[in-house]
Subunit: 343 residues, 4 copies
Amino acid sequence: MASLKIAVAGASGYAGGEVLRLLLAHPEVEIGALTAGSNAGSALGTHHPHLTPLAGRVLSDTTPEVLAGHDVVFLGLPHGASAVVAAELGDDVLVVDCGADFRLSDPADWTAFYGGEHAGTWPYGLPELPGQRDRLVGTRRIAAPGCFPTVSTLSILPAVAEGLVEPEVVVVAATGTSGAGKSLKPHLLGSEVMGQASVYGVGGVHRHTPEIEQNLRLAGAADARVSFTPVLAPMSRGILATVSAPLAAGADGDAVRAAYEKAYADEPFVHLLPEGQWPQTKAVLGSNCVHVQVAVDSRVSRVVAVGAIDNLTKGTAGTAIQSMNVALGLPETLGLPVVGVAP
Amino acid sequence: MASLKIAVAGASGYAGGEVLRLLLAHPEVEIGALTAGSNAGSALGTHHPHLTPLAGRVLSDTTPEVLAGHDVVFLGLPHGASAVVAAELGDDVLVVDCGADFRLSDPADWTAFYGGEHAGTWPYGLPELPGQRDRLVGTRRIAAPGCFPTVSTLSILPAVAEGLVEPEVVVVAATGTSGAGKSLKPHLLGSEVMGQASVYGVGGVHRHTPEIEQNLRLAGAADARVSFTPVLAPMSRGILATVSAPLAAGADGDAVRAAYEKAYADEPFVHLLPEGQWPQTKAVLGSNCVHVQVAVDSRVSRVVAVGAIDNLTKGTAGTAIQSMNVALGLPETLGLPVVGVAP
Amino acid sequence: MASLKIAVAGASGYAGGEVLRLLLAHPEVEIGALTAGSNAGSALGTHHPHLTPLAGRVLSDTTPEVLAGHDVVFLGLPHGASAVVAAELGDDVLVVDCGADFRLSDPADWTAFYGGEHAGTWPYGLPELPGQRDRLVGTRRIAAPGCFPTVSTLSILPAVAEGLVEPEVVVVAATGTSGAGKSLKPHLLGSEVMGQASVYGVGGVHRHTPEIEQNLRLAGAADARVSFTPVLAPMSRGILATVSAPLAAGADGDAVRAAYEKAYADEPFVHLLPEGQWPQTKAVLGSNCVHVQVAVDSRVSRVVAVGAIDNLTKGTAGTAIQSMNVALGLPETLGLPVVGVAP
Amino acid sequence: MASLKIAVAGASGYAGGEVLRLLLAHPEVEIGALTAGSNAGSALGTHHPHLTPLAGRVLSDTTPEVLAGHDVVFLGLPHGASAVVAAELGDDVLVVDCGADFRLSDPADWTAFYGGEHAGTWPYGLPELPGQRDRLVGTRRIAAPGCFPTVSTLSILPAVAEGLVEPEVVVVAATGTSGAGKSLKPHLLGSEVMGQASVYGVGGVHRHTPEIEQNLRLAGAADARVSFTPVLAPMSRGILATVSAPLAAGADGDAVRAAYEKAYADEPFVHLLPEGQWPQTKAVLGSNCVHVQVAVDSRVSRVVAVGAIDNLTKGTAGTAIQSMNVALGLPETLGLPVVGVAP
C-alpha cells in the first residue's frame, strides 16, 4: 500500500515525541505536519534531540490548515483541547487522541473526575479488552487509553473475566515521571524526584480510577470497585502495577494460572512470565509489551498480580499506533517494538 | 553521666555503618570495637568513606574477646548469627540486634517464614507500639524491628487500634535497595536497578509479613491478616508504604483523622502531615522520623494510609538507638536526627 | 553566649532550605524570620517537608522590617537582588550572601560574565584559601563562594600554591541538579535528567570560571587560566570535580603528595584520602567536608586531582555558616556535620 | 540474500545481551547458538527479560561444537578468553570480538596496560576512522572498539586530523555503570552508585588510554598524548565525554567548525549538533548514534569538544554489528537504530 501520511499535533510533548519515535520505525508511514502550541516555530530537535532524523523539522501552529491532507492525525494535547481540533478534521481522517477527553463512556464519571462537560466517547484503543479489537476495525476515531488503566486492567483482567476474584480491586502503581508530561511543576524537578518515592492522588481521586473500573465492567464485573494509589518513582519511564483482589469462593491458584495462560496465549504484546519470574519495568522500556505475573496468596486468600509497561509506549503512543494498525487493517504489530532496552 | 562504650559487630555492612553514623552524633557515646566478618583487617574508610572521623579505624574479627568490656553492643550480622554472639555477652551488657533473629514471638511463624529453629524472642524495639515503651525500660536485649514492619505498622496503627478498619490489610511498599544490604547479587547491581521498578517476595512469602501481623495483633486486632508486596525502587534509601484496609462499619473520615491525631500528638518521631500533604521519602532521609498521612476513600469504603521512613535510620539503626536510649533511661530522642536531607 | 537570632531571606529555595537544615543543628542559634518572594504566605513545610520542626512556619515577604532585629541574615536570593536588601541592614548585622553578587573583585570580570554593573566585593567565605580565615574574622559582610569554585579550588590549591603545576588548569565537574536551584526549566525536569548526563556552559562561558581563576591568583598563580566544563549528572546533590594541570618542571609525585598533606593537615573540613582511594560524592552528602585525592600521570606529565563536595552544604550553606562562625569568633566547626549520609 | 546464522558467546552478559537486542531487529539475521560460562543451562529470559522473543532459549556451554556452523560469531567474553575460542573457528567465519584482546597494535601497550602476552591485532571496528572502513571490507576478524575510545576519538577526531589542535588531549568522560559489565563488586551495587559520582582509573592507568592514543595516531597525530579520567555516573547506560586540547597556532573557531562539518557530513551515525546545542546521553540511548558538538574557548585557547554515545550500542554491540555489515558487504546501517529512547 502507499504510505500513510501522518500528522502529530502536540509534537513537542512526551506523548507526541513517543508517537514520532515509533512512527520513524513504522514501514507504512510518512511523517507529515508536526505542530505545537507555544513551541511552534522552534526546531523539533531542541525538544526531542533523540529524534535525530527529524531534528531540523520546524514545528507549526496547530491549525486545521496545517493538519489537513493527512490520513492519520495523532493528538497529544492538553485535556479539553482535542474535541475542537478533531471537529475540524474530516470523518475519513483517522484521529487518535492520546488524551483523556473521549475515554469515558459515562458522562457522570467524566464530570466527577475531570469536571466540566463530557466531550463524548470514542472507541477505546485497548485491543486486548474482550471484544475491543473488533470494535476498532474501521473506526476513524480512537481514544488511546490512560497509562495506569492499561497496565492495571491487563494485570487483573483474566481473573476478573473468569470470575476468579471478587471485584474489590486494590491497585498501587509505581510510575516514572514522564507520565506527568513536561509540566513545569516544582515537584517534578529532577532535584525533587531523584532518590525519592512519593504518592499523589490518594483516596480515590485520581482520574484513572473510573477508567479502570469501566474496563473491568467491560470484562464482566458489573460492580467493580477500584482503590487506586499512584506512586511517583525516581525513573523517567515505566509503570509497575501491583493489583490484588480477594480470591472468589471456589477459585484456586491453578484456575487463576490457567485463566491467564488462556487469556494471553495469542496476545502479541502481553507476555505472561514463567512462574516465579516477576515483571520489571526496564524489560519493557521502549517496547509495546506488557509483562504480567500472578500468584495466589493463600494465607490471606487474595490474588496478587503485577504488570509492567512503558507508560509512554504501551501506556500511550504504542497502544495508539497498535490501535491505528487495527483500525486501518494493517498487521496489528506492524512497526511496534517488542524488545525493551535494558539494562 | 559517663560515656557509654559501644561496640558494633558487622560494622562494614549498611546497618552497622548507619549505627556508626548516628552514634558519631550522639553526645553520650564512645565508639569502641568495630568488627566484621570477611572484611576484618581492612580500614573502615574503605567500606564507609562517609564516616570520615573513623576512616582509619581497622576492623577486628567478631570475637567475644573483642566485644568484651562494652556497655552496649550493636549487632548487624547475617540472619542466624546473633544468638551465638549474644550468648557470650554478659546479661549486664545491652545487646541490640539489628537482625531478625529475635523479633517474632511465635516459633511457628519463625519456622514458616525463616526456616530452622526459633532462637527466642527479645523485647521489640518499636517504642511507638502500645505499651512497648515501658517494656523496653531497663531491658538488656533488644530486637530492632524490620524496616517494612516499622513503617507499615505506624501507618495503619491508629486505625487498627481504634477499630476503625477491618484488619484485612493490604500493604504495597516501595523500598530503596539498601534494605537488601551489600549482598552481591546481579539484580542489585546499579545497572539493573537504575531506571527500574520491580517486585519480589510476592504472594505472602516475604519474611516481614508475620512481623507486621504480630504488631497489629499487639495493637488489638487479634485476627489481623496482611497482604504484603515489596517493590524495589531505584533509590538507595527510603520506604514509602501504601497501607489500606476496609473502613469498619460506623467509622468515617473524621474519626480516622482524630485517631491519628491522638495517637501521634506526643510521639517525637512520628509526624502526621497537615491534611492534603502526603509523605515523601527524602523528607525523612537520614532522619529518625516517620511521616504519615491518611485518607478515607468513600467510593470504595477504604482507609488509605501512607508512611515514609528511611529504611536504614528509623527502619534499622535509628530505632535501635532510640530503643537503646529508652532501655538505658536516656532521653528517648538523644542524638537522633529529626531533619531529613533534601532535596 | 546568648543565642544568635538569625533570619533567612529566600527560605523556600534550595540554598535557604539548606541553611535552615544546618542551623537547626547549630547550638548557638535561634531561627527568626523566614522570608520568600512569590512563596510568601505559604508554610515552609510545603516547600521543605524535611524541615519537620519548622514545617508550620509561614513565610513572610522579604522586607527590611521583617529582617530587622536579627544578628545574622542569610540571603538566598536571585542574582542581583542581594545588594538592595543588604543596604537596608545595619553595619552591625552580619549579612551572608549565598548568591554571586559580591564574590568577584574585578568589575571587568563581573561585567564580562554576569553583565550589568558590579555591586561590589565582600570578604570571600572560603576560609581554606591562604590568608582568608583572618580576613573573615570580625567582618559583617560575607560572600559565600560558588559551589564549583569551592571544590575546584580546593582540589588543585596545594599544587598551585607550591608552584608544582603550570597554572593552565582544566576542570570538568559533574554536578547534581540542585545547583541550578528550583528553576522551572524543562531540562531540569526529572524526566529529562534521570538516566542522563549532559553539559552546559561549555567553552569558557560559565560564570564560575573567573571565580576559580580569582582563587588561584590568590593562591599565588598570577596568570592562572581555567578551562571549565560543568556536567549535569543524574543526582540531586554533589559535585565531583576532576582538575588537572601540567606538572611544573622539576616537580614530581612525592612533592605533590607532600604539598597536599601539608596544606590540609589542619583543615577541619578538607580530608585528603589515603593514597589509592578516590573521592565519591555520597561520602560527603549533607556534610561540610571536601574529600580530595591527587595523582601524577607521568606518561603525560600532568597532575590530576579530584575533589568531592555536597554542592548545597560545603558548596553553599555549610561554607556560609562556617564563615559565619569565623566572623563571629565561634569555633569554626560549630554545628557543622563532617559525616555524610551514605549509601 | 539468505539469512546469516549468528551465534553469540557470552550471551548472558551486557555486551551479549545488547548484540541480541540489535540482532532481533536486523532483517538479514537468524539467531543461532547462545552460549555462556557459569550461566549455561539457564534460560536467557532469566538474565535478559527484555529479550522477550528469546526468553525461553536455554544457554549452552561455550564450546567449538556449539559455535560451529554459524556465519558470524560474536564474542562477549572476559578479557583473555577470546583468542582460544576464535582459534577453533574457521577462517571463513566472521568473528567479532567485543572484548579488548585484539584492539591494540603495539604489544608494549598491551603489556603495559593489560599485562601478560599480546594475543594479536585484528581489524579495528570503528569505520569512522580515516581509512578504516576500507580495511574492514571482507575481513573475517573484527576487534570492536572500547566504549570510551569510540566516543573520545570521534569527539576530537576532526580537529586532530586537520591539525587544528596540539595533540595533548584531556578527556574526562562520565559513564553509566553497564560499562563495567555484570561484575559483582560492591562499588557497582545500586545502593552505592545511585545518587553518586565517583572516579576510577585516574592518573593514566585506565586501559582505554592507549587505545585512544592509537586512534589519534591513525588520524595523523604521531605524538598524541592523552590524559584520561573516567567518571562513574548514576545511570545505567551512556557516556558523555568532554575532550579538550590546546588550539593550534593559526587555528580558529571557524576552521574547527568547518573541519567537523566536513568530517561528519556523510557519516550515517555521527551527528554534529546545530551550533549552541550540546550532546546529552539519552538522545542516543539504545541507538548507534554519536552526538558531537565543539567550541573554541578563546580565553584559554582550547578546543572543547563533547560527544555522547550509548556505551552498549555505539560503544560496543552497535559498532560491532555496523562493522559486521561493512565486512560482509551489507548496507552499513542495516538493522541499526539511529533514534534514541528518550526521555
